[in-house]
Symmetry: C2
DNA sequence: ACTTTGGATAATTTTTCCTTATGGCAGATT
DNA sequence: AATCTGCCATAAGGAAAAATTATCCAAAGT
């Protein structure tokens, strides 16, 4: 594959513009023979004459002009590629494939997207919402850049960093609002509604109650926190939801939300990504945005609780 | 201007496709370290990471993919430029700027264009019709590629080759048809209509009659052969026209056309171009086409004369 | 004829690029 | 746990490419 070089193309373009070897050469900051040779080589590899060397004139041939047109196009593209590289430096931009588990996504994302979109014009976030194992797999396959999950994950190939901790709160029918807060063990006697198998949140809740996840349970599983809260509102039982979900899920349901006394159940939400990912710094920026978003949500939650307290 | 090379772009593209240094390297017919180094250099000059090197995986980064898209575009363009060079080899194609003098253009061009256009798809002929001195000047300025003129031209910077010889024929009013053909000197006594100054054909005709071109003449000049023939038809005088013009110019005029006895006046039509022009071989092809066209025209002329002879 | 201009050529050095050999890390294997 | 293996990075040496300076040569201008 006998091919010319970009350098030759640049020299060629200069000569085409200046129509003078000496001037073109100094425009390229090289000596005149160097340019002569490169042009000669270029013509040789092309098998065609680009310039007509007159006694006192250098002019493009018919073919040379056609060639020059395209050369200019190529050089422009190449320069743009350089710009692109420069532009994508440091700054968070381009496509970012973000995985989020279902017990976080609906509550965090609106705020997070707002947060990121505001400061990072040209950032294209693609969200994948699914269960932790799938997220991990896709991450390791390189189909995701980072994911927000409950820690720990414990995959050696993945780096993980905690973002925030959040309590699990007890959701009861309004009728139970005044009753004392049960201990962890006490929940076992109640009809505890949980998410379907596979959700890490389910496992965490069960483990808080010292229940074996494998234990077969009567059909009390819901496919989303929203469903669970509605079921609670209908008096079917009680459930746990993460702090972050309170504002959204209890807005339109007749339920009572209470925190536990110590030892309070919590989960650590964190960010994971491939150790080998060069996006580390950019993912760091996302982490910060998530922390800010979580903080905002927590503040909202606090005012909500306050209001609820005043109302009751 | 720290810039990458086409070679790097090709290596990069291979690696992007294979996602494996070893295989990409052998696809490029180089060693693996060579490819590693070129990729590293490329990333360095870009100031951005293109690939995510996993333990057992090589994948494009976000930026890498964007870069790869453009790289493919550039490589495609570059390959096309190579094709272009190959395609423009030997074969006559592209733009050809052809100058022709006015006493040839209208008669030769229709046939010539047909001749060339038939065999050379993609040939773009641009015709410039003007007097010889202008053609020569434009040729030397590089604004024309070649020209068809009467030889000799005698410019040292120009190459010239004869195409064909053609007689000058006497055009007289029909009334004079039977009269004997005058000698060259005899024309001096007649009202000889000629083209305006500047036309080489005028000078050649005058020289045939041994008249000094500078001699002031009464307003008997026409701006085209067509005009002259019309004037002859109107009985104003006689004129000379080149053989090639007969078929066209005498079709709709009541005139008689006669050849001279020896010494017959002739002119040599030829082709000229810059010695430095790389189009030599292509111009040669044009020359051949002109010869063929001239031959065709001469044949037409012969049948015309025959017909005229039968009619009279 | 002589000088000047401007590109080509020659000889040499510098830079770039490739090769082979080797190091090292992370999965895979036993 | 220890070893193996695949795979990329690094190192060192040599070949190729490209730059430089110094001429050379042809054609234009004087």
């Amino acid at each position: 594959m006998a091919d010319f070089t970009l350098k030759q193309l640049r020299y060629f373009e200069a000569l085409a513009r200046h129509e003078h070897f000496g001037r073109a050469a100094s425009a390229c900051a090289i000596s005149q023979p160097a340019l002569s040779m490169q042009i000669r080589d270029l013509e040789e590899t092309l098998g065609a004459v680009l310039f007509e060397r007159g006694a006192r004139q250098v002019r493009l041939t018919m073919f040379g002009e056609e060639f020059a047109d395209r050369a200019r196009g190529v050089l422009r593209s190449v320069d743009e590629m350089g710009d692109l590289a420069r532009a994508s430096q440091g700054r968070l931009m381009g496509r970012l494939r973000l995985g989020v588990i279902p017990t976080i996504a609906p509550y965090l994302l609106p705020t997070l997207i707002g947060e990121l979109g505001r400061n990072h014009e040209g950032l294209d976030i693609r969200v994948r919402e699914t269960l932790t194992p799938k997220l991990i797999a896709e991450l390791e396959e390189g189909r995701l850049d980072t994911a927000i999950v409950a820690l720990p994950v414990g995959e050696p190939a993945l780096e993980e960093v905690p973002l925030f901790e959040e309590d699990f709160l007890l959701v009861r029918p309004l009728a139970d609002a005044g009753k004392p807060v049960p201990e962890a063990e006490g929940l076992r006697g109640m009809r505890l509604l949980l998410l379907e198998e596979g959700h890490c949140f389910r496992d965490q809740a069960l483990s808080f109650c010292n229940l074996t996840p494998a234990l077969p349970r009567d059909g009390l599983d819901g496919s989303s926190l929203s469903t669970l809260v509605q079921m609670v509102g209908a008096g079917i039982g009680v459930t746990l939801i993460p702090e972050m979900a309170v504002a959204v899920e209890t807005r339109s349901a007749a339920v009572s939300v209470t925190g536990f006394d110590a030892p309070r159940p919590t989960r650590t939400v964190g960010m994971v990504w491939r150790r080998t990912s060069p996006l580390a710094s950019q993912i760091n920026e996302v982490s910060e945005a998530v922390r800010r978003a979580a903080h905002t949500l927590r503040a909202d939650h606090a005012t909500l609780l306050e209001k609820a307290a005043r109302t009751s």
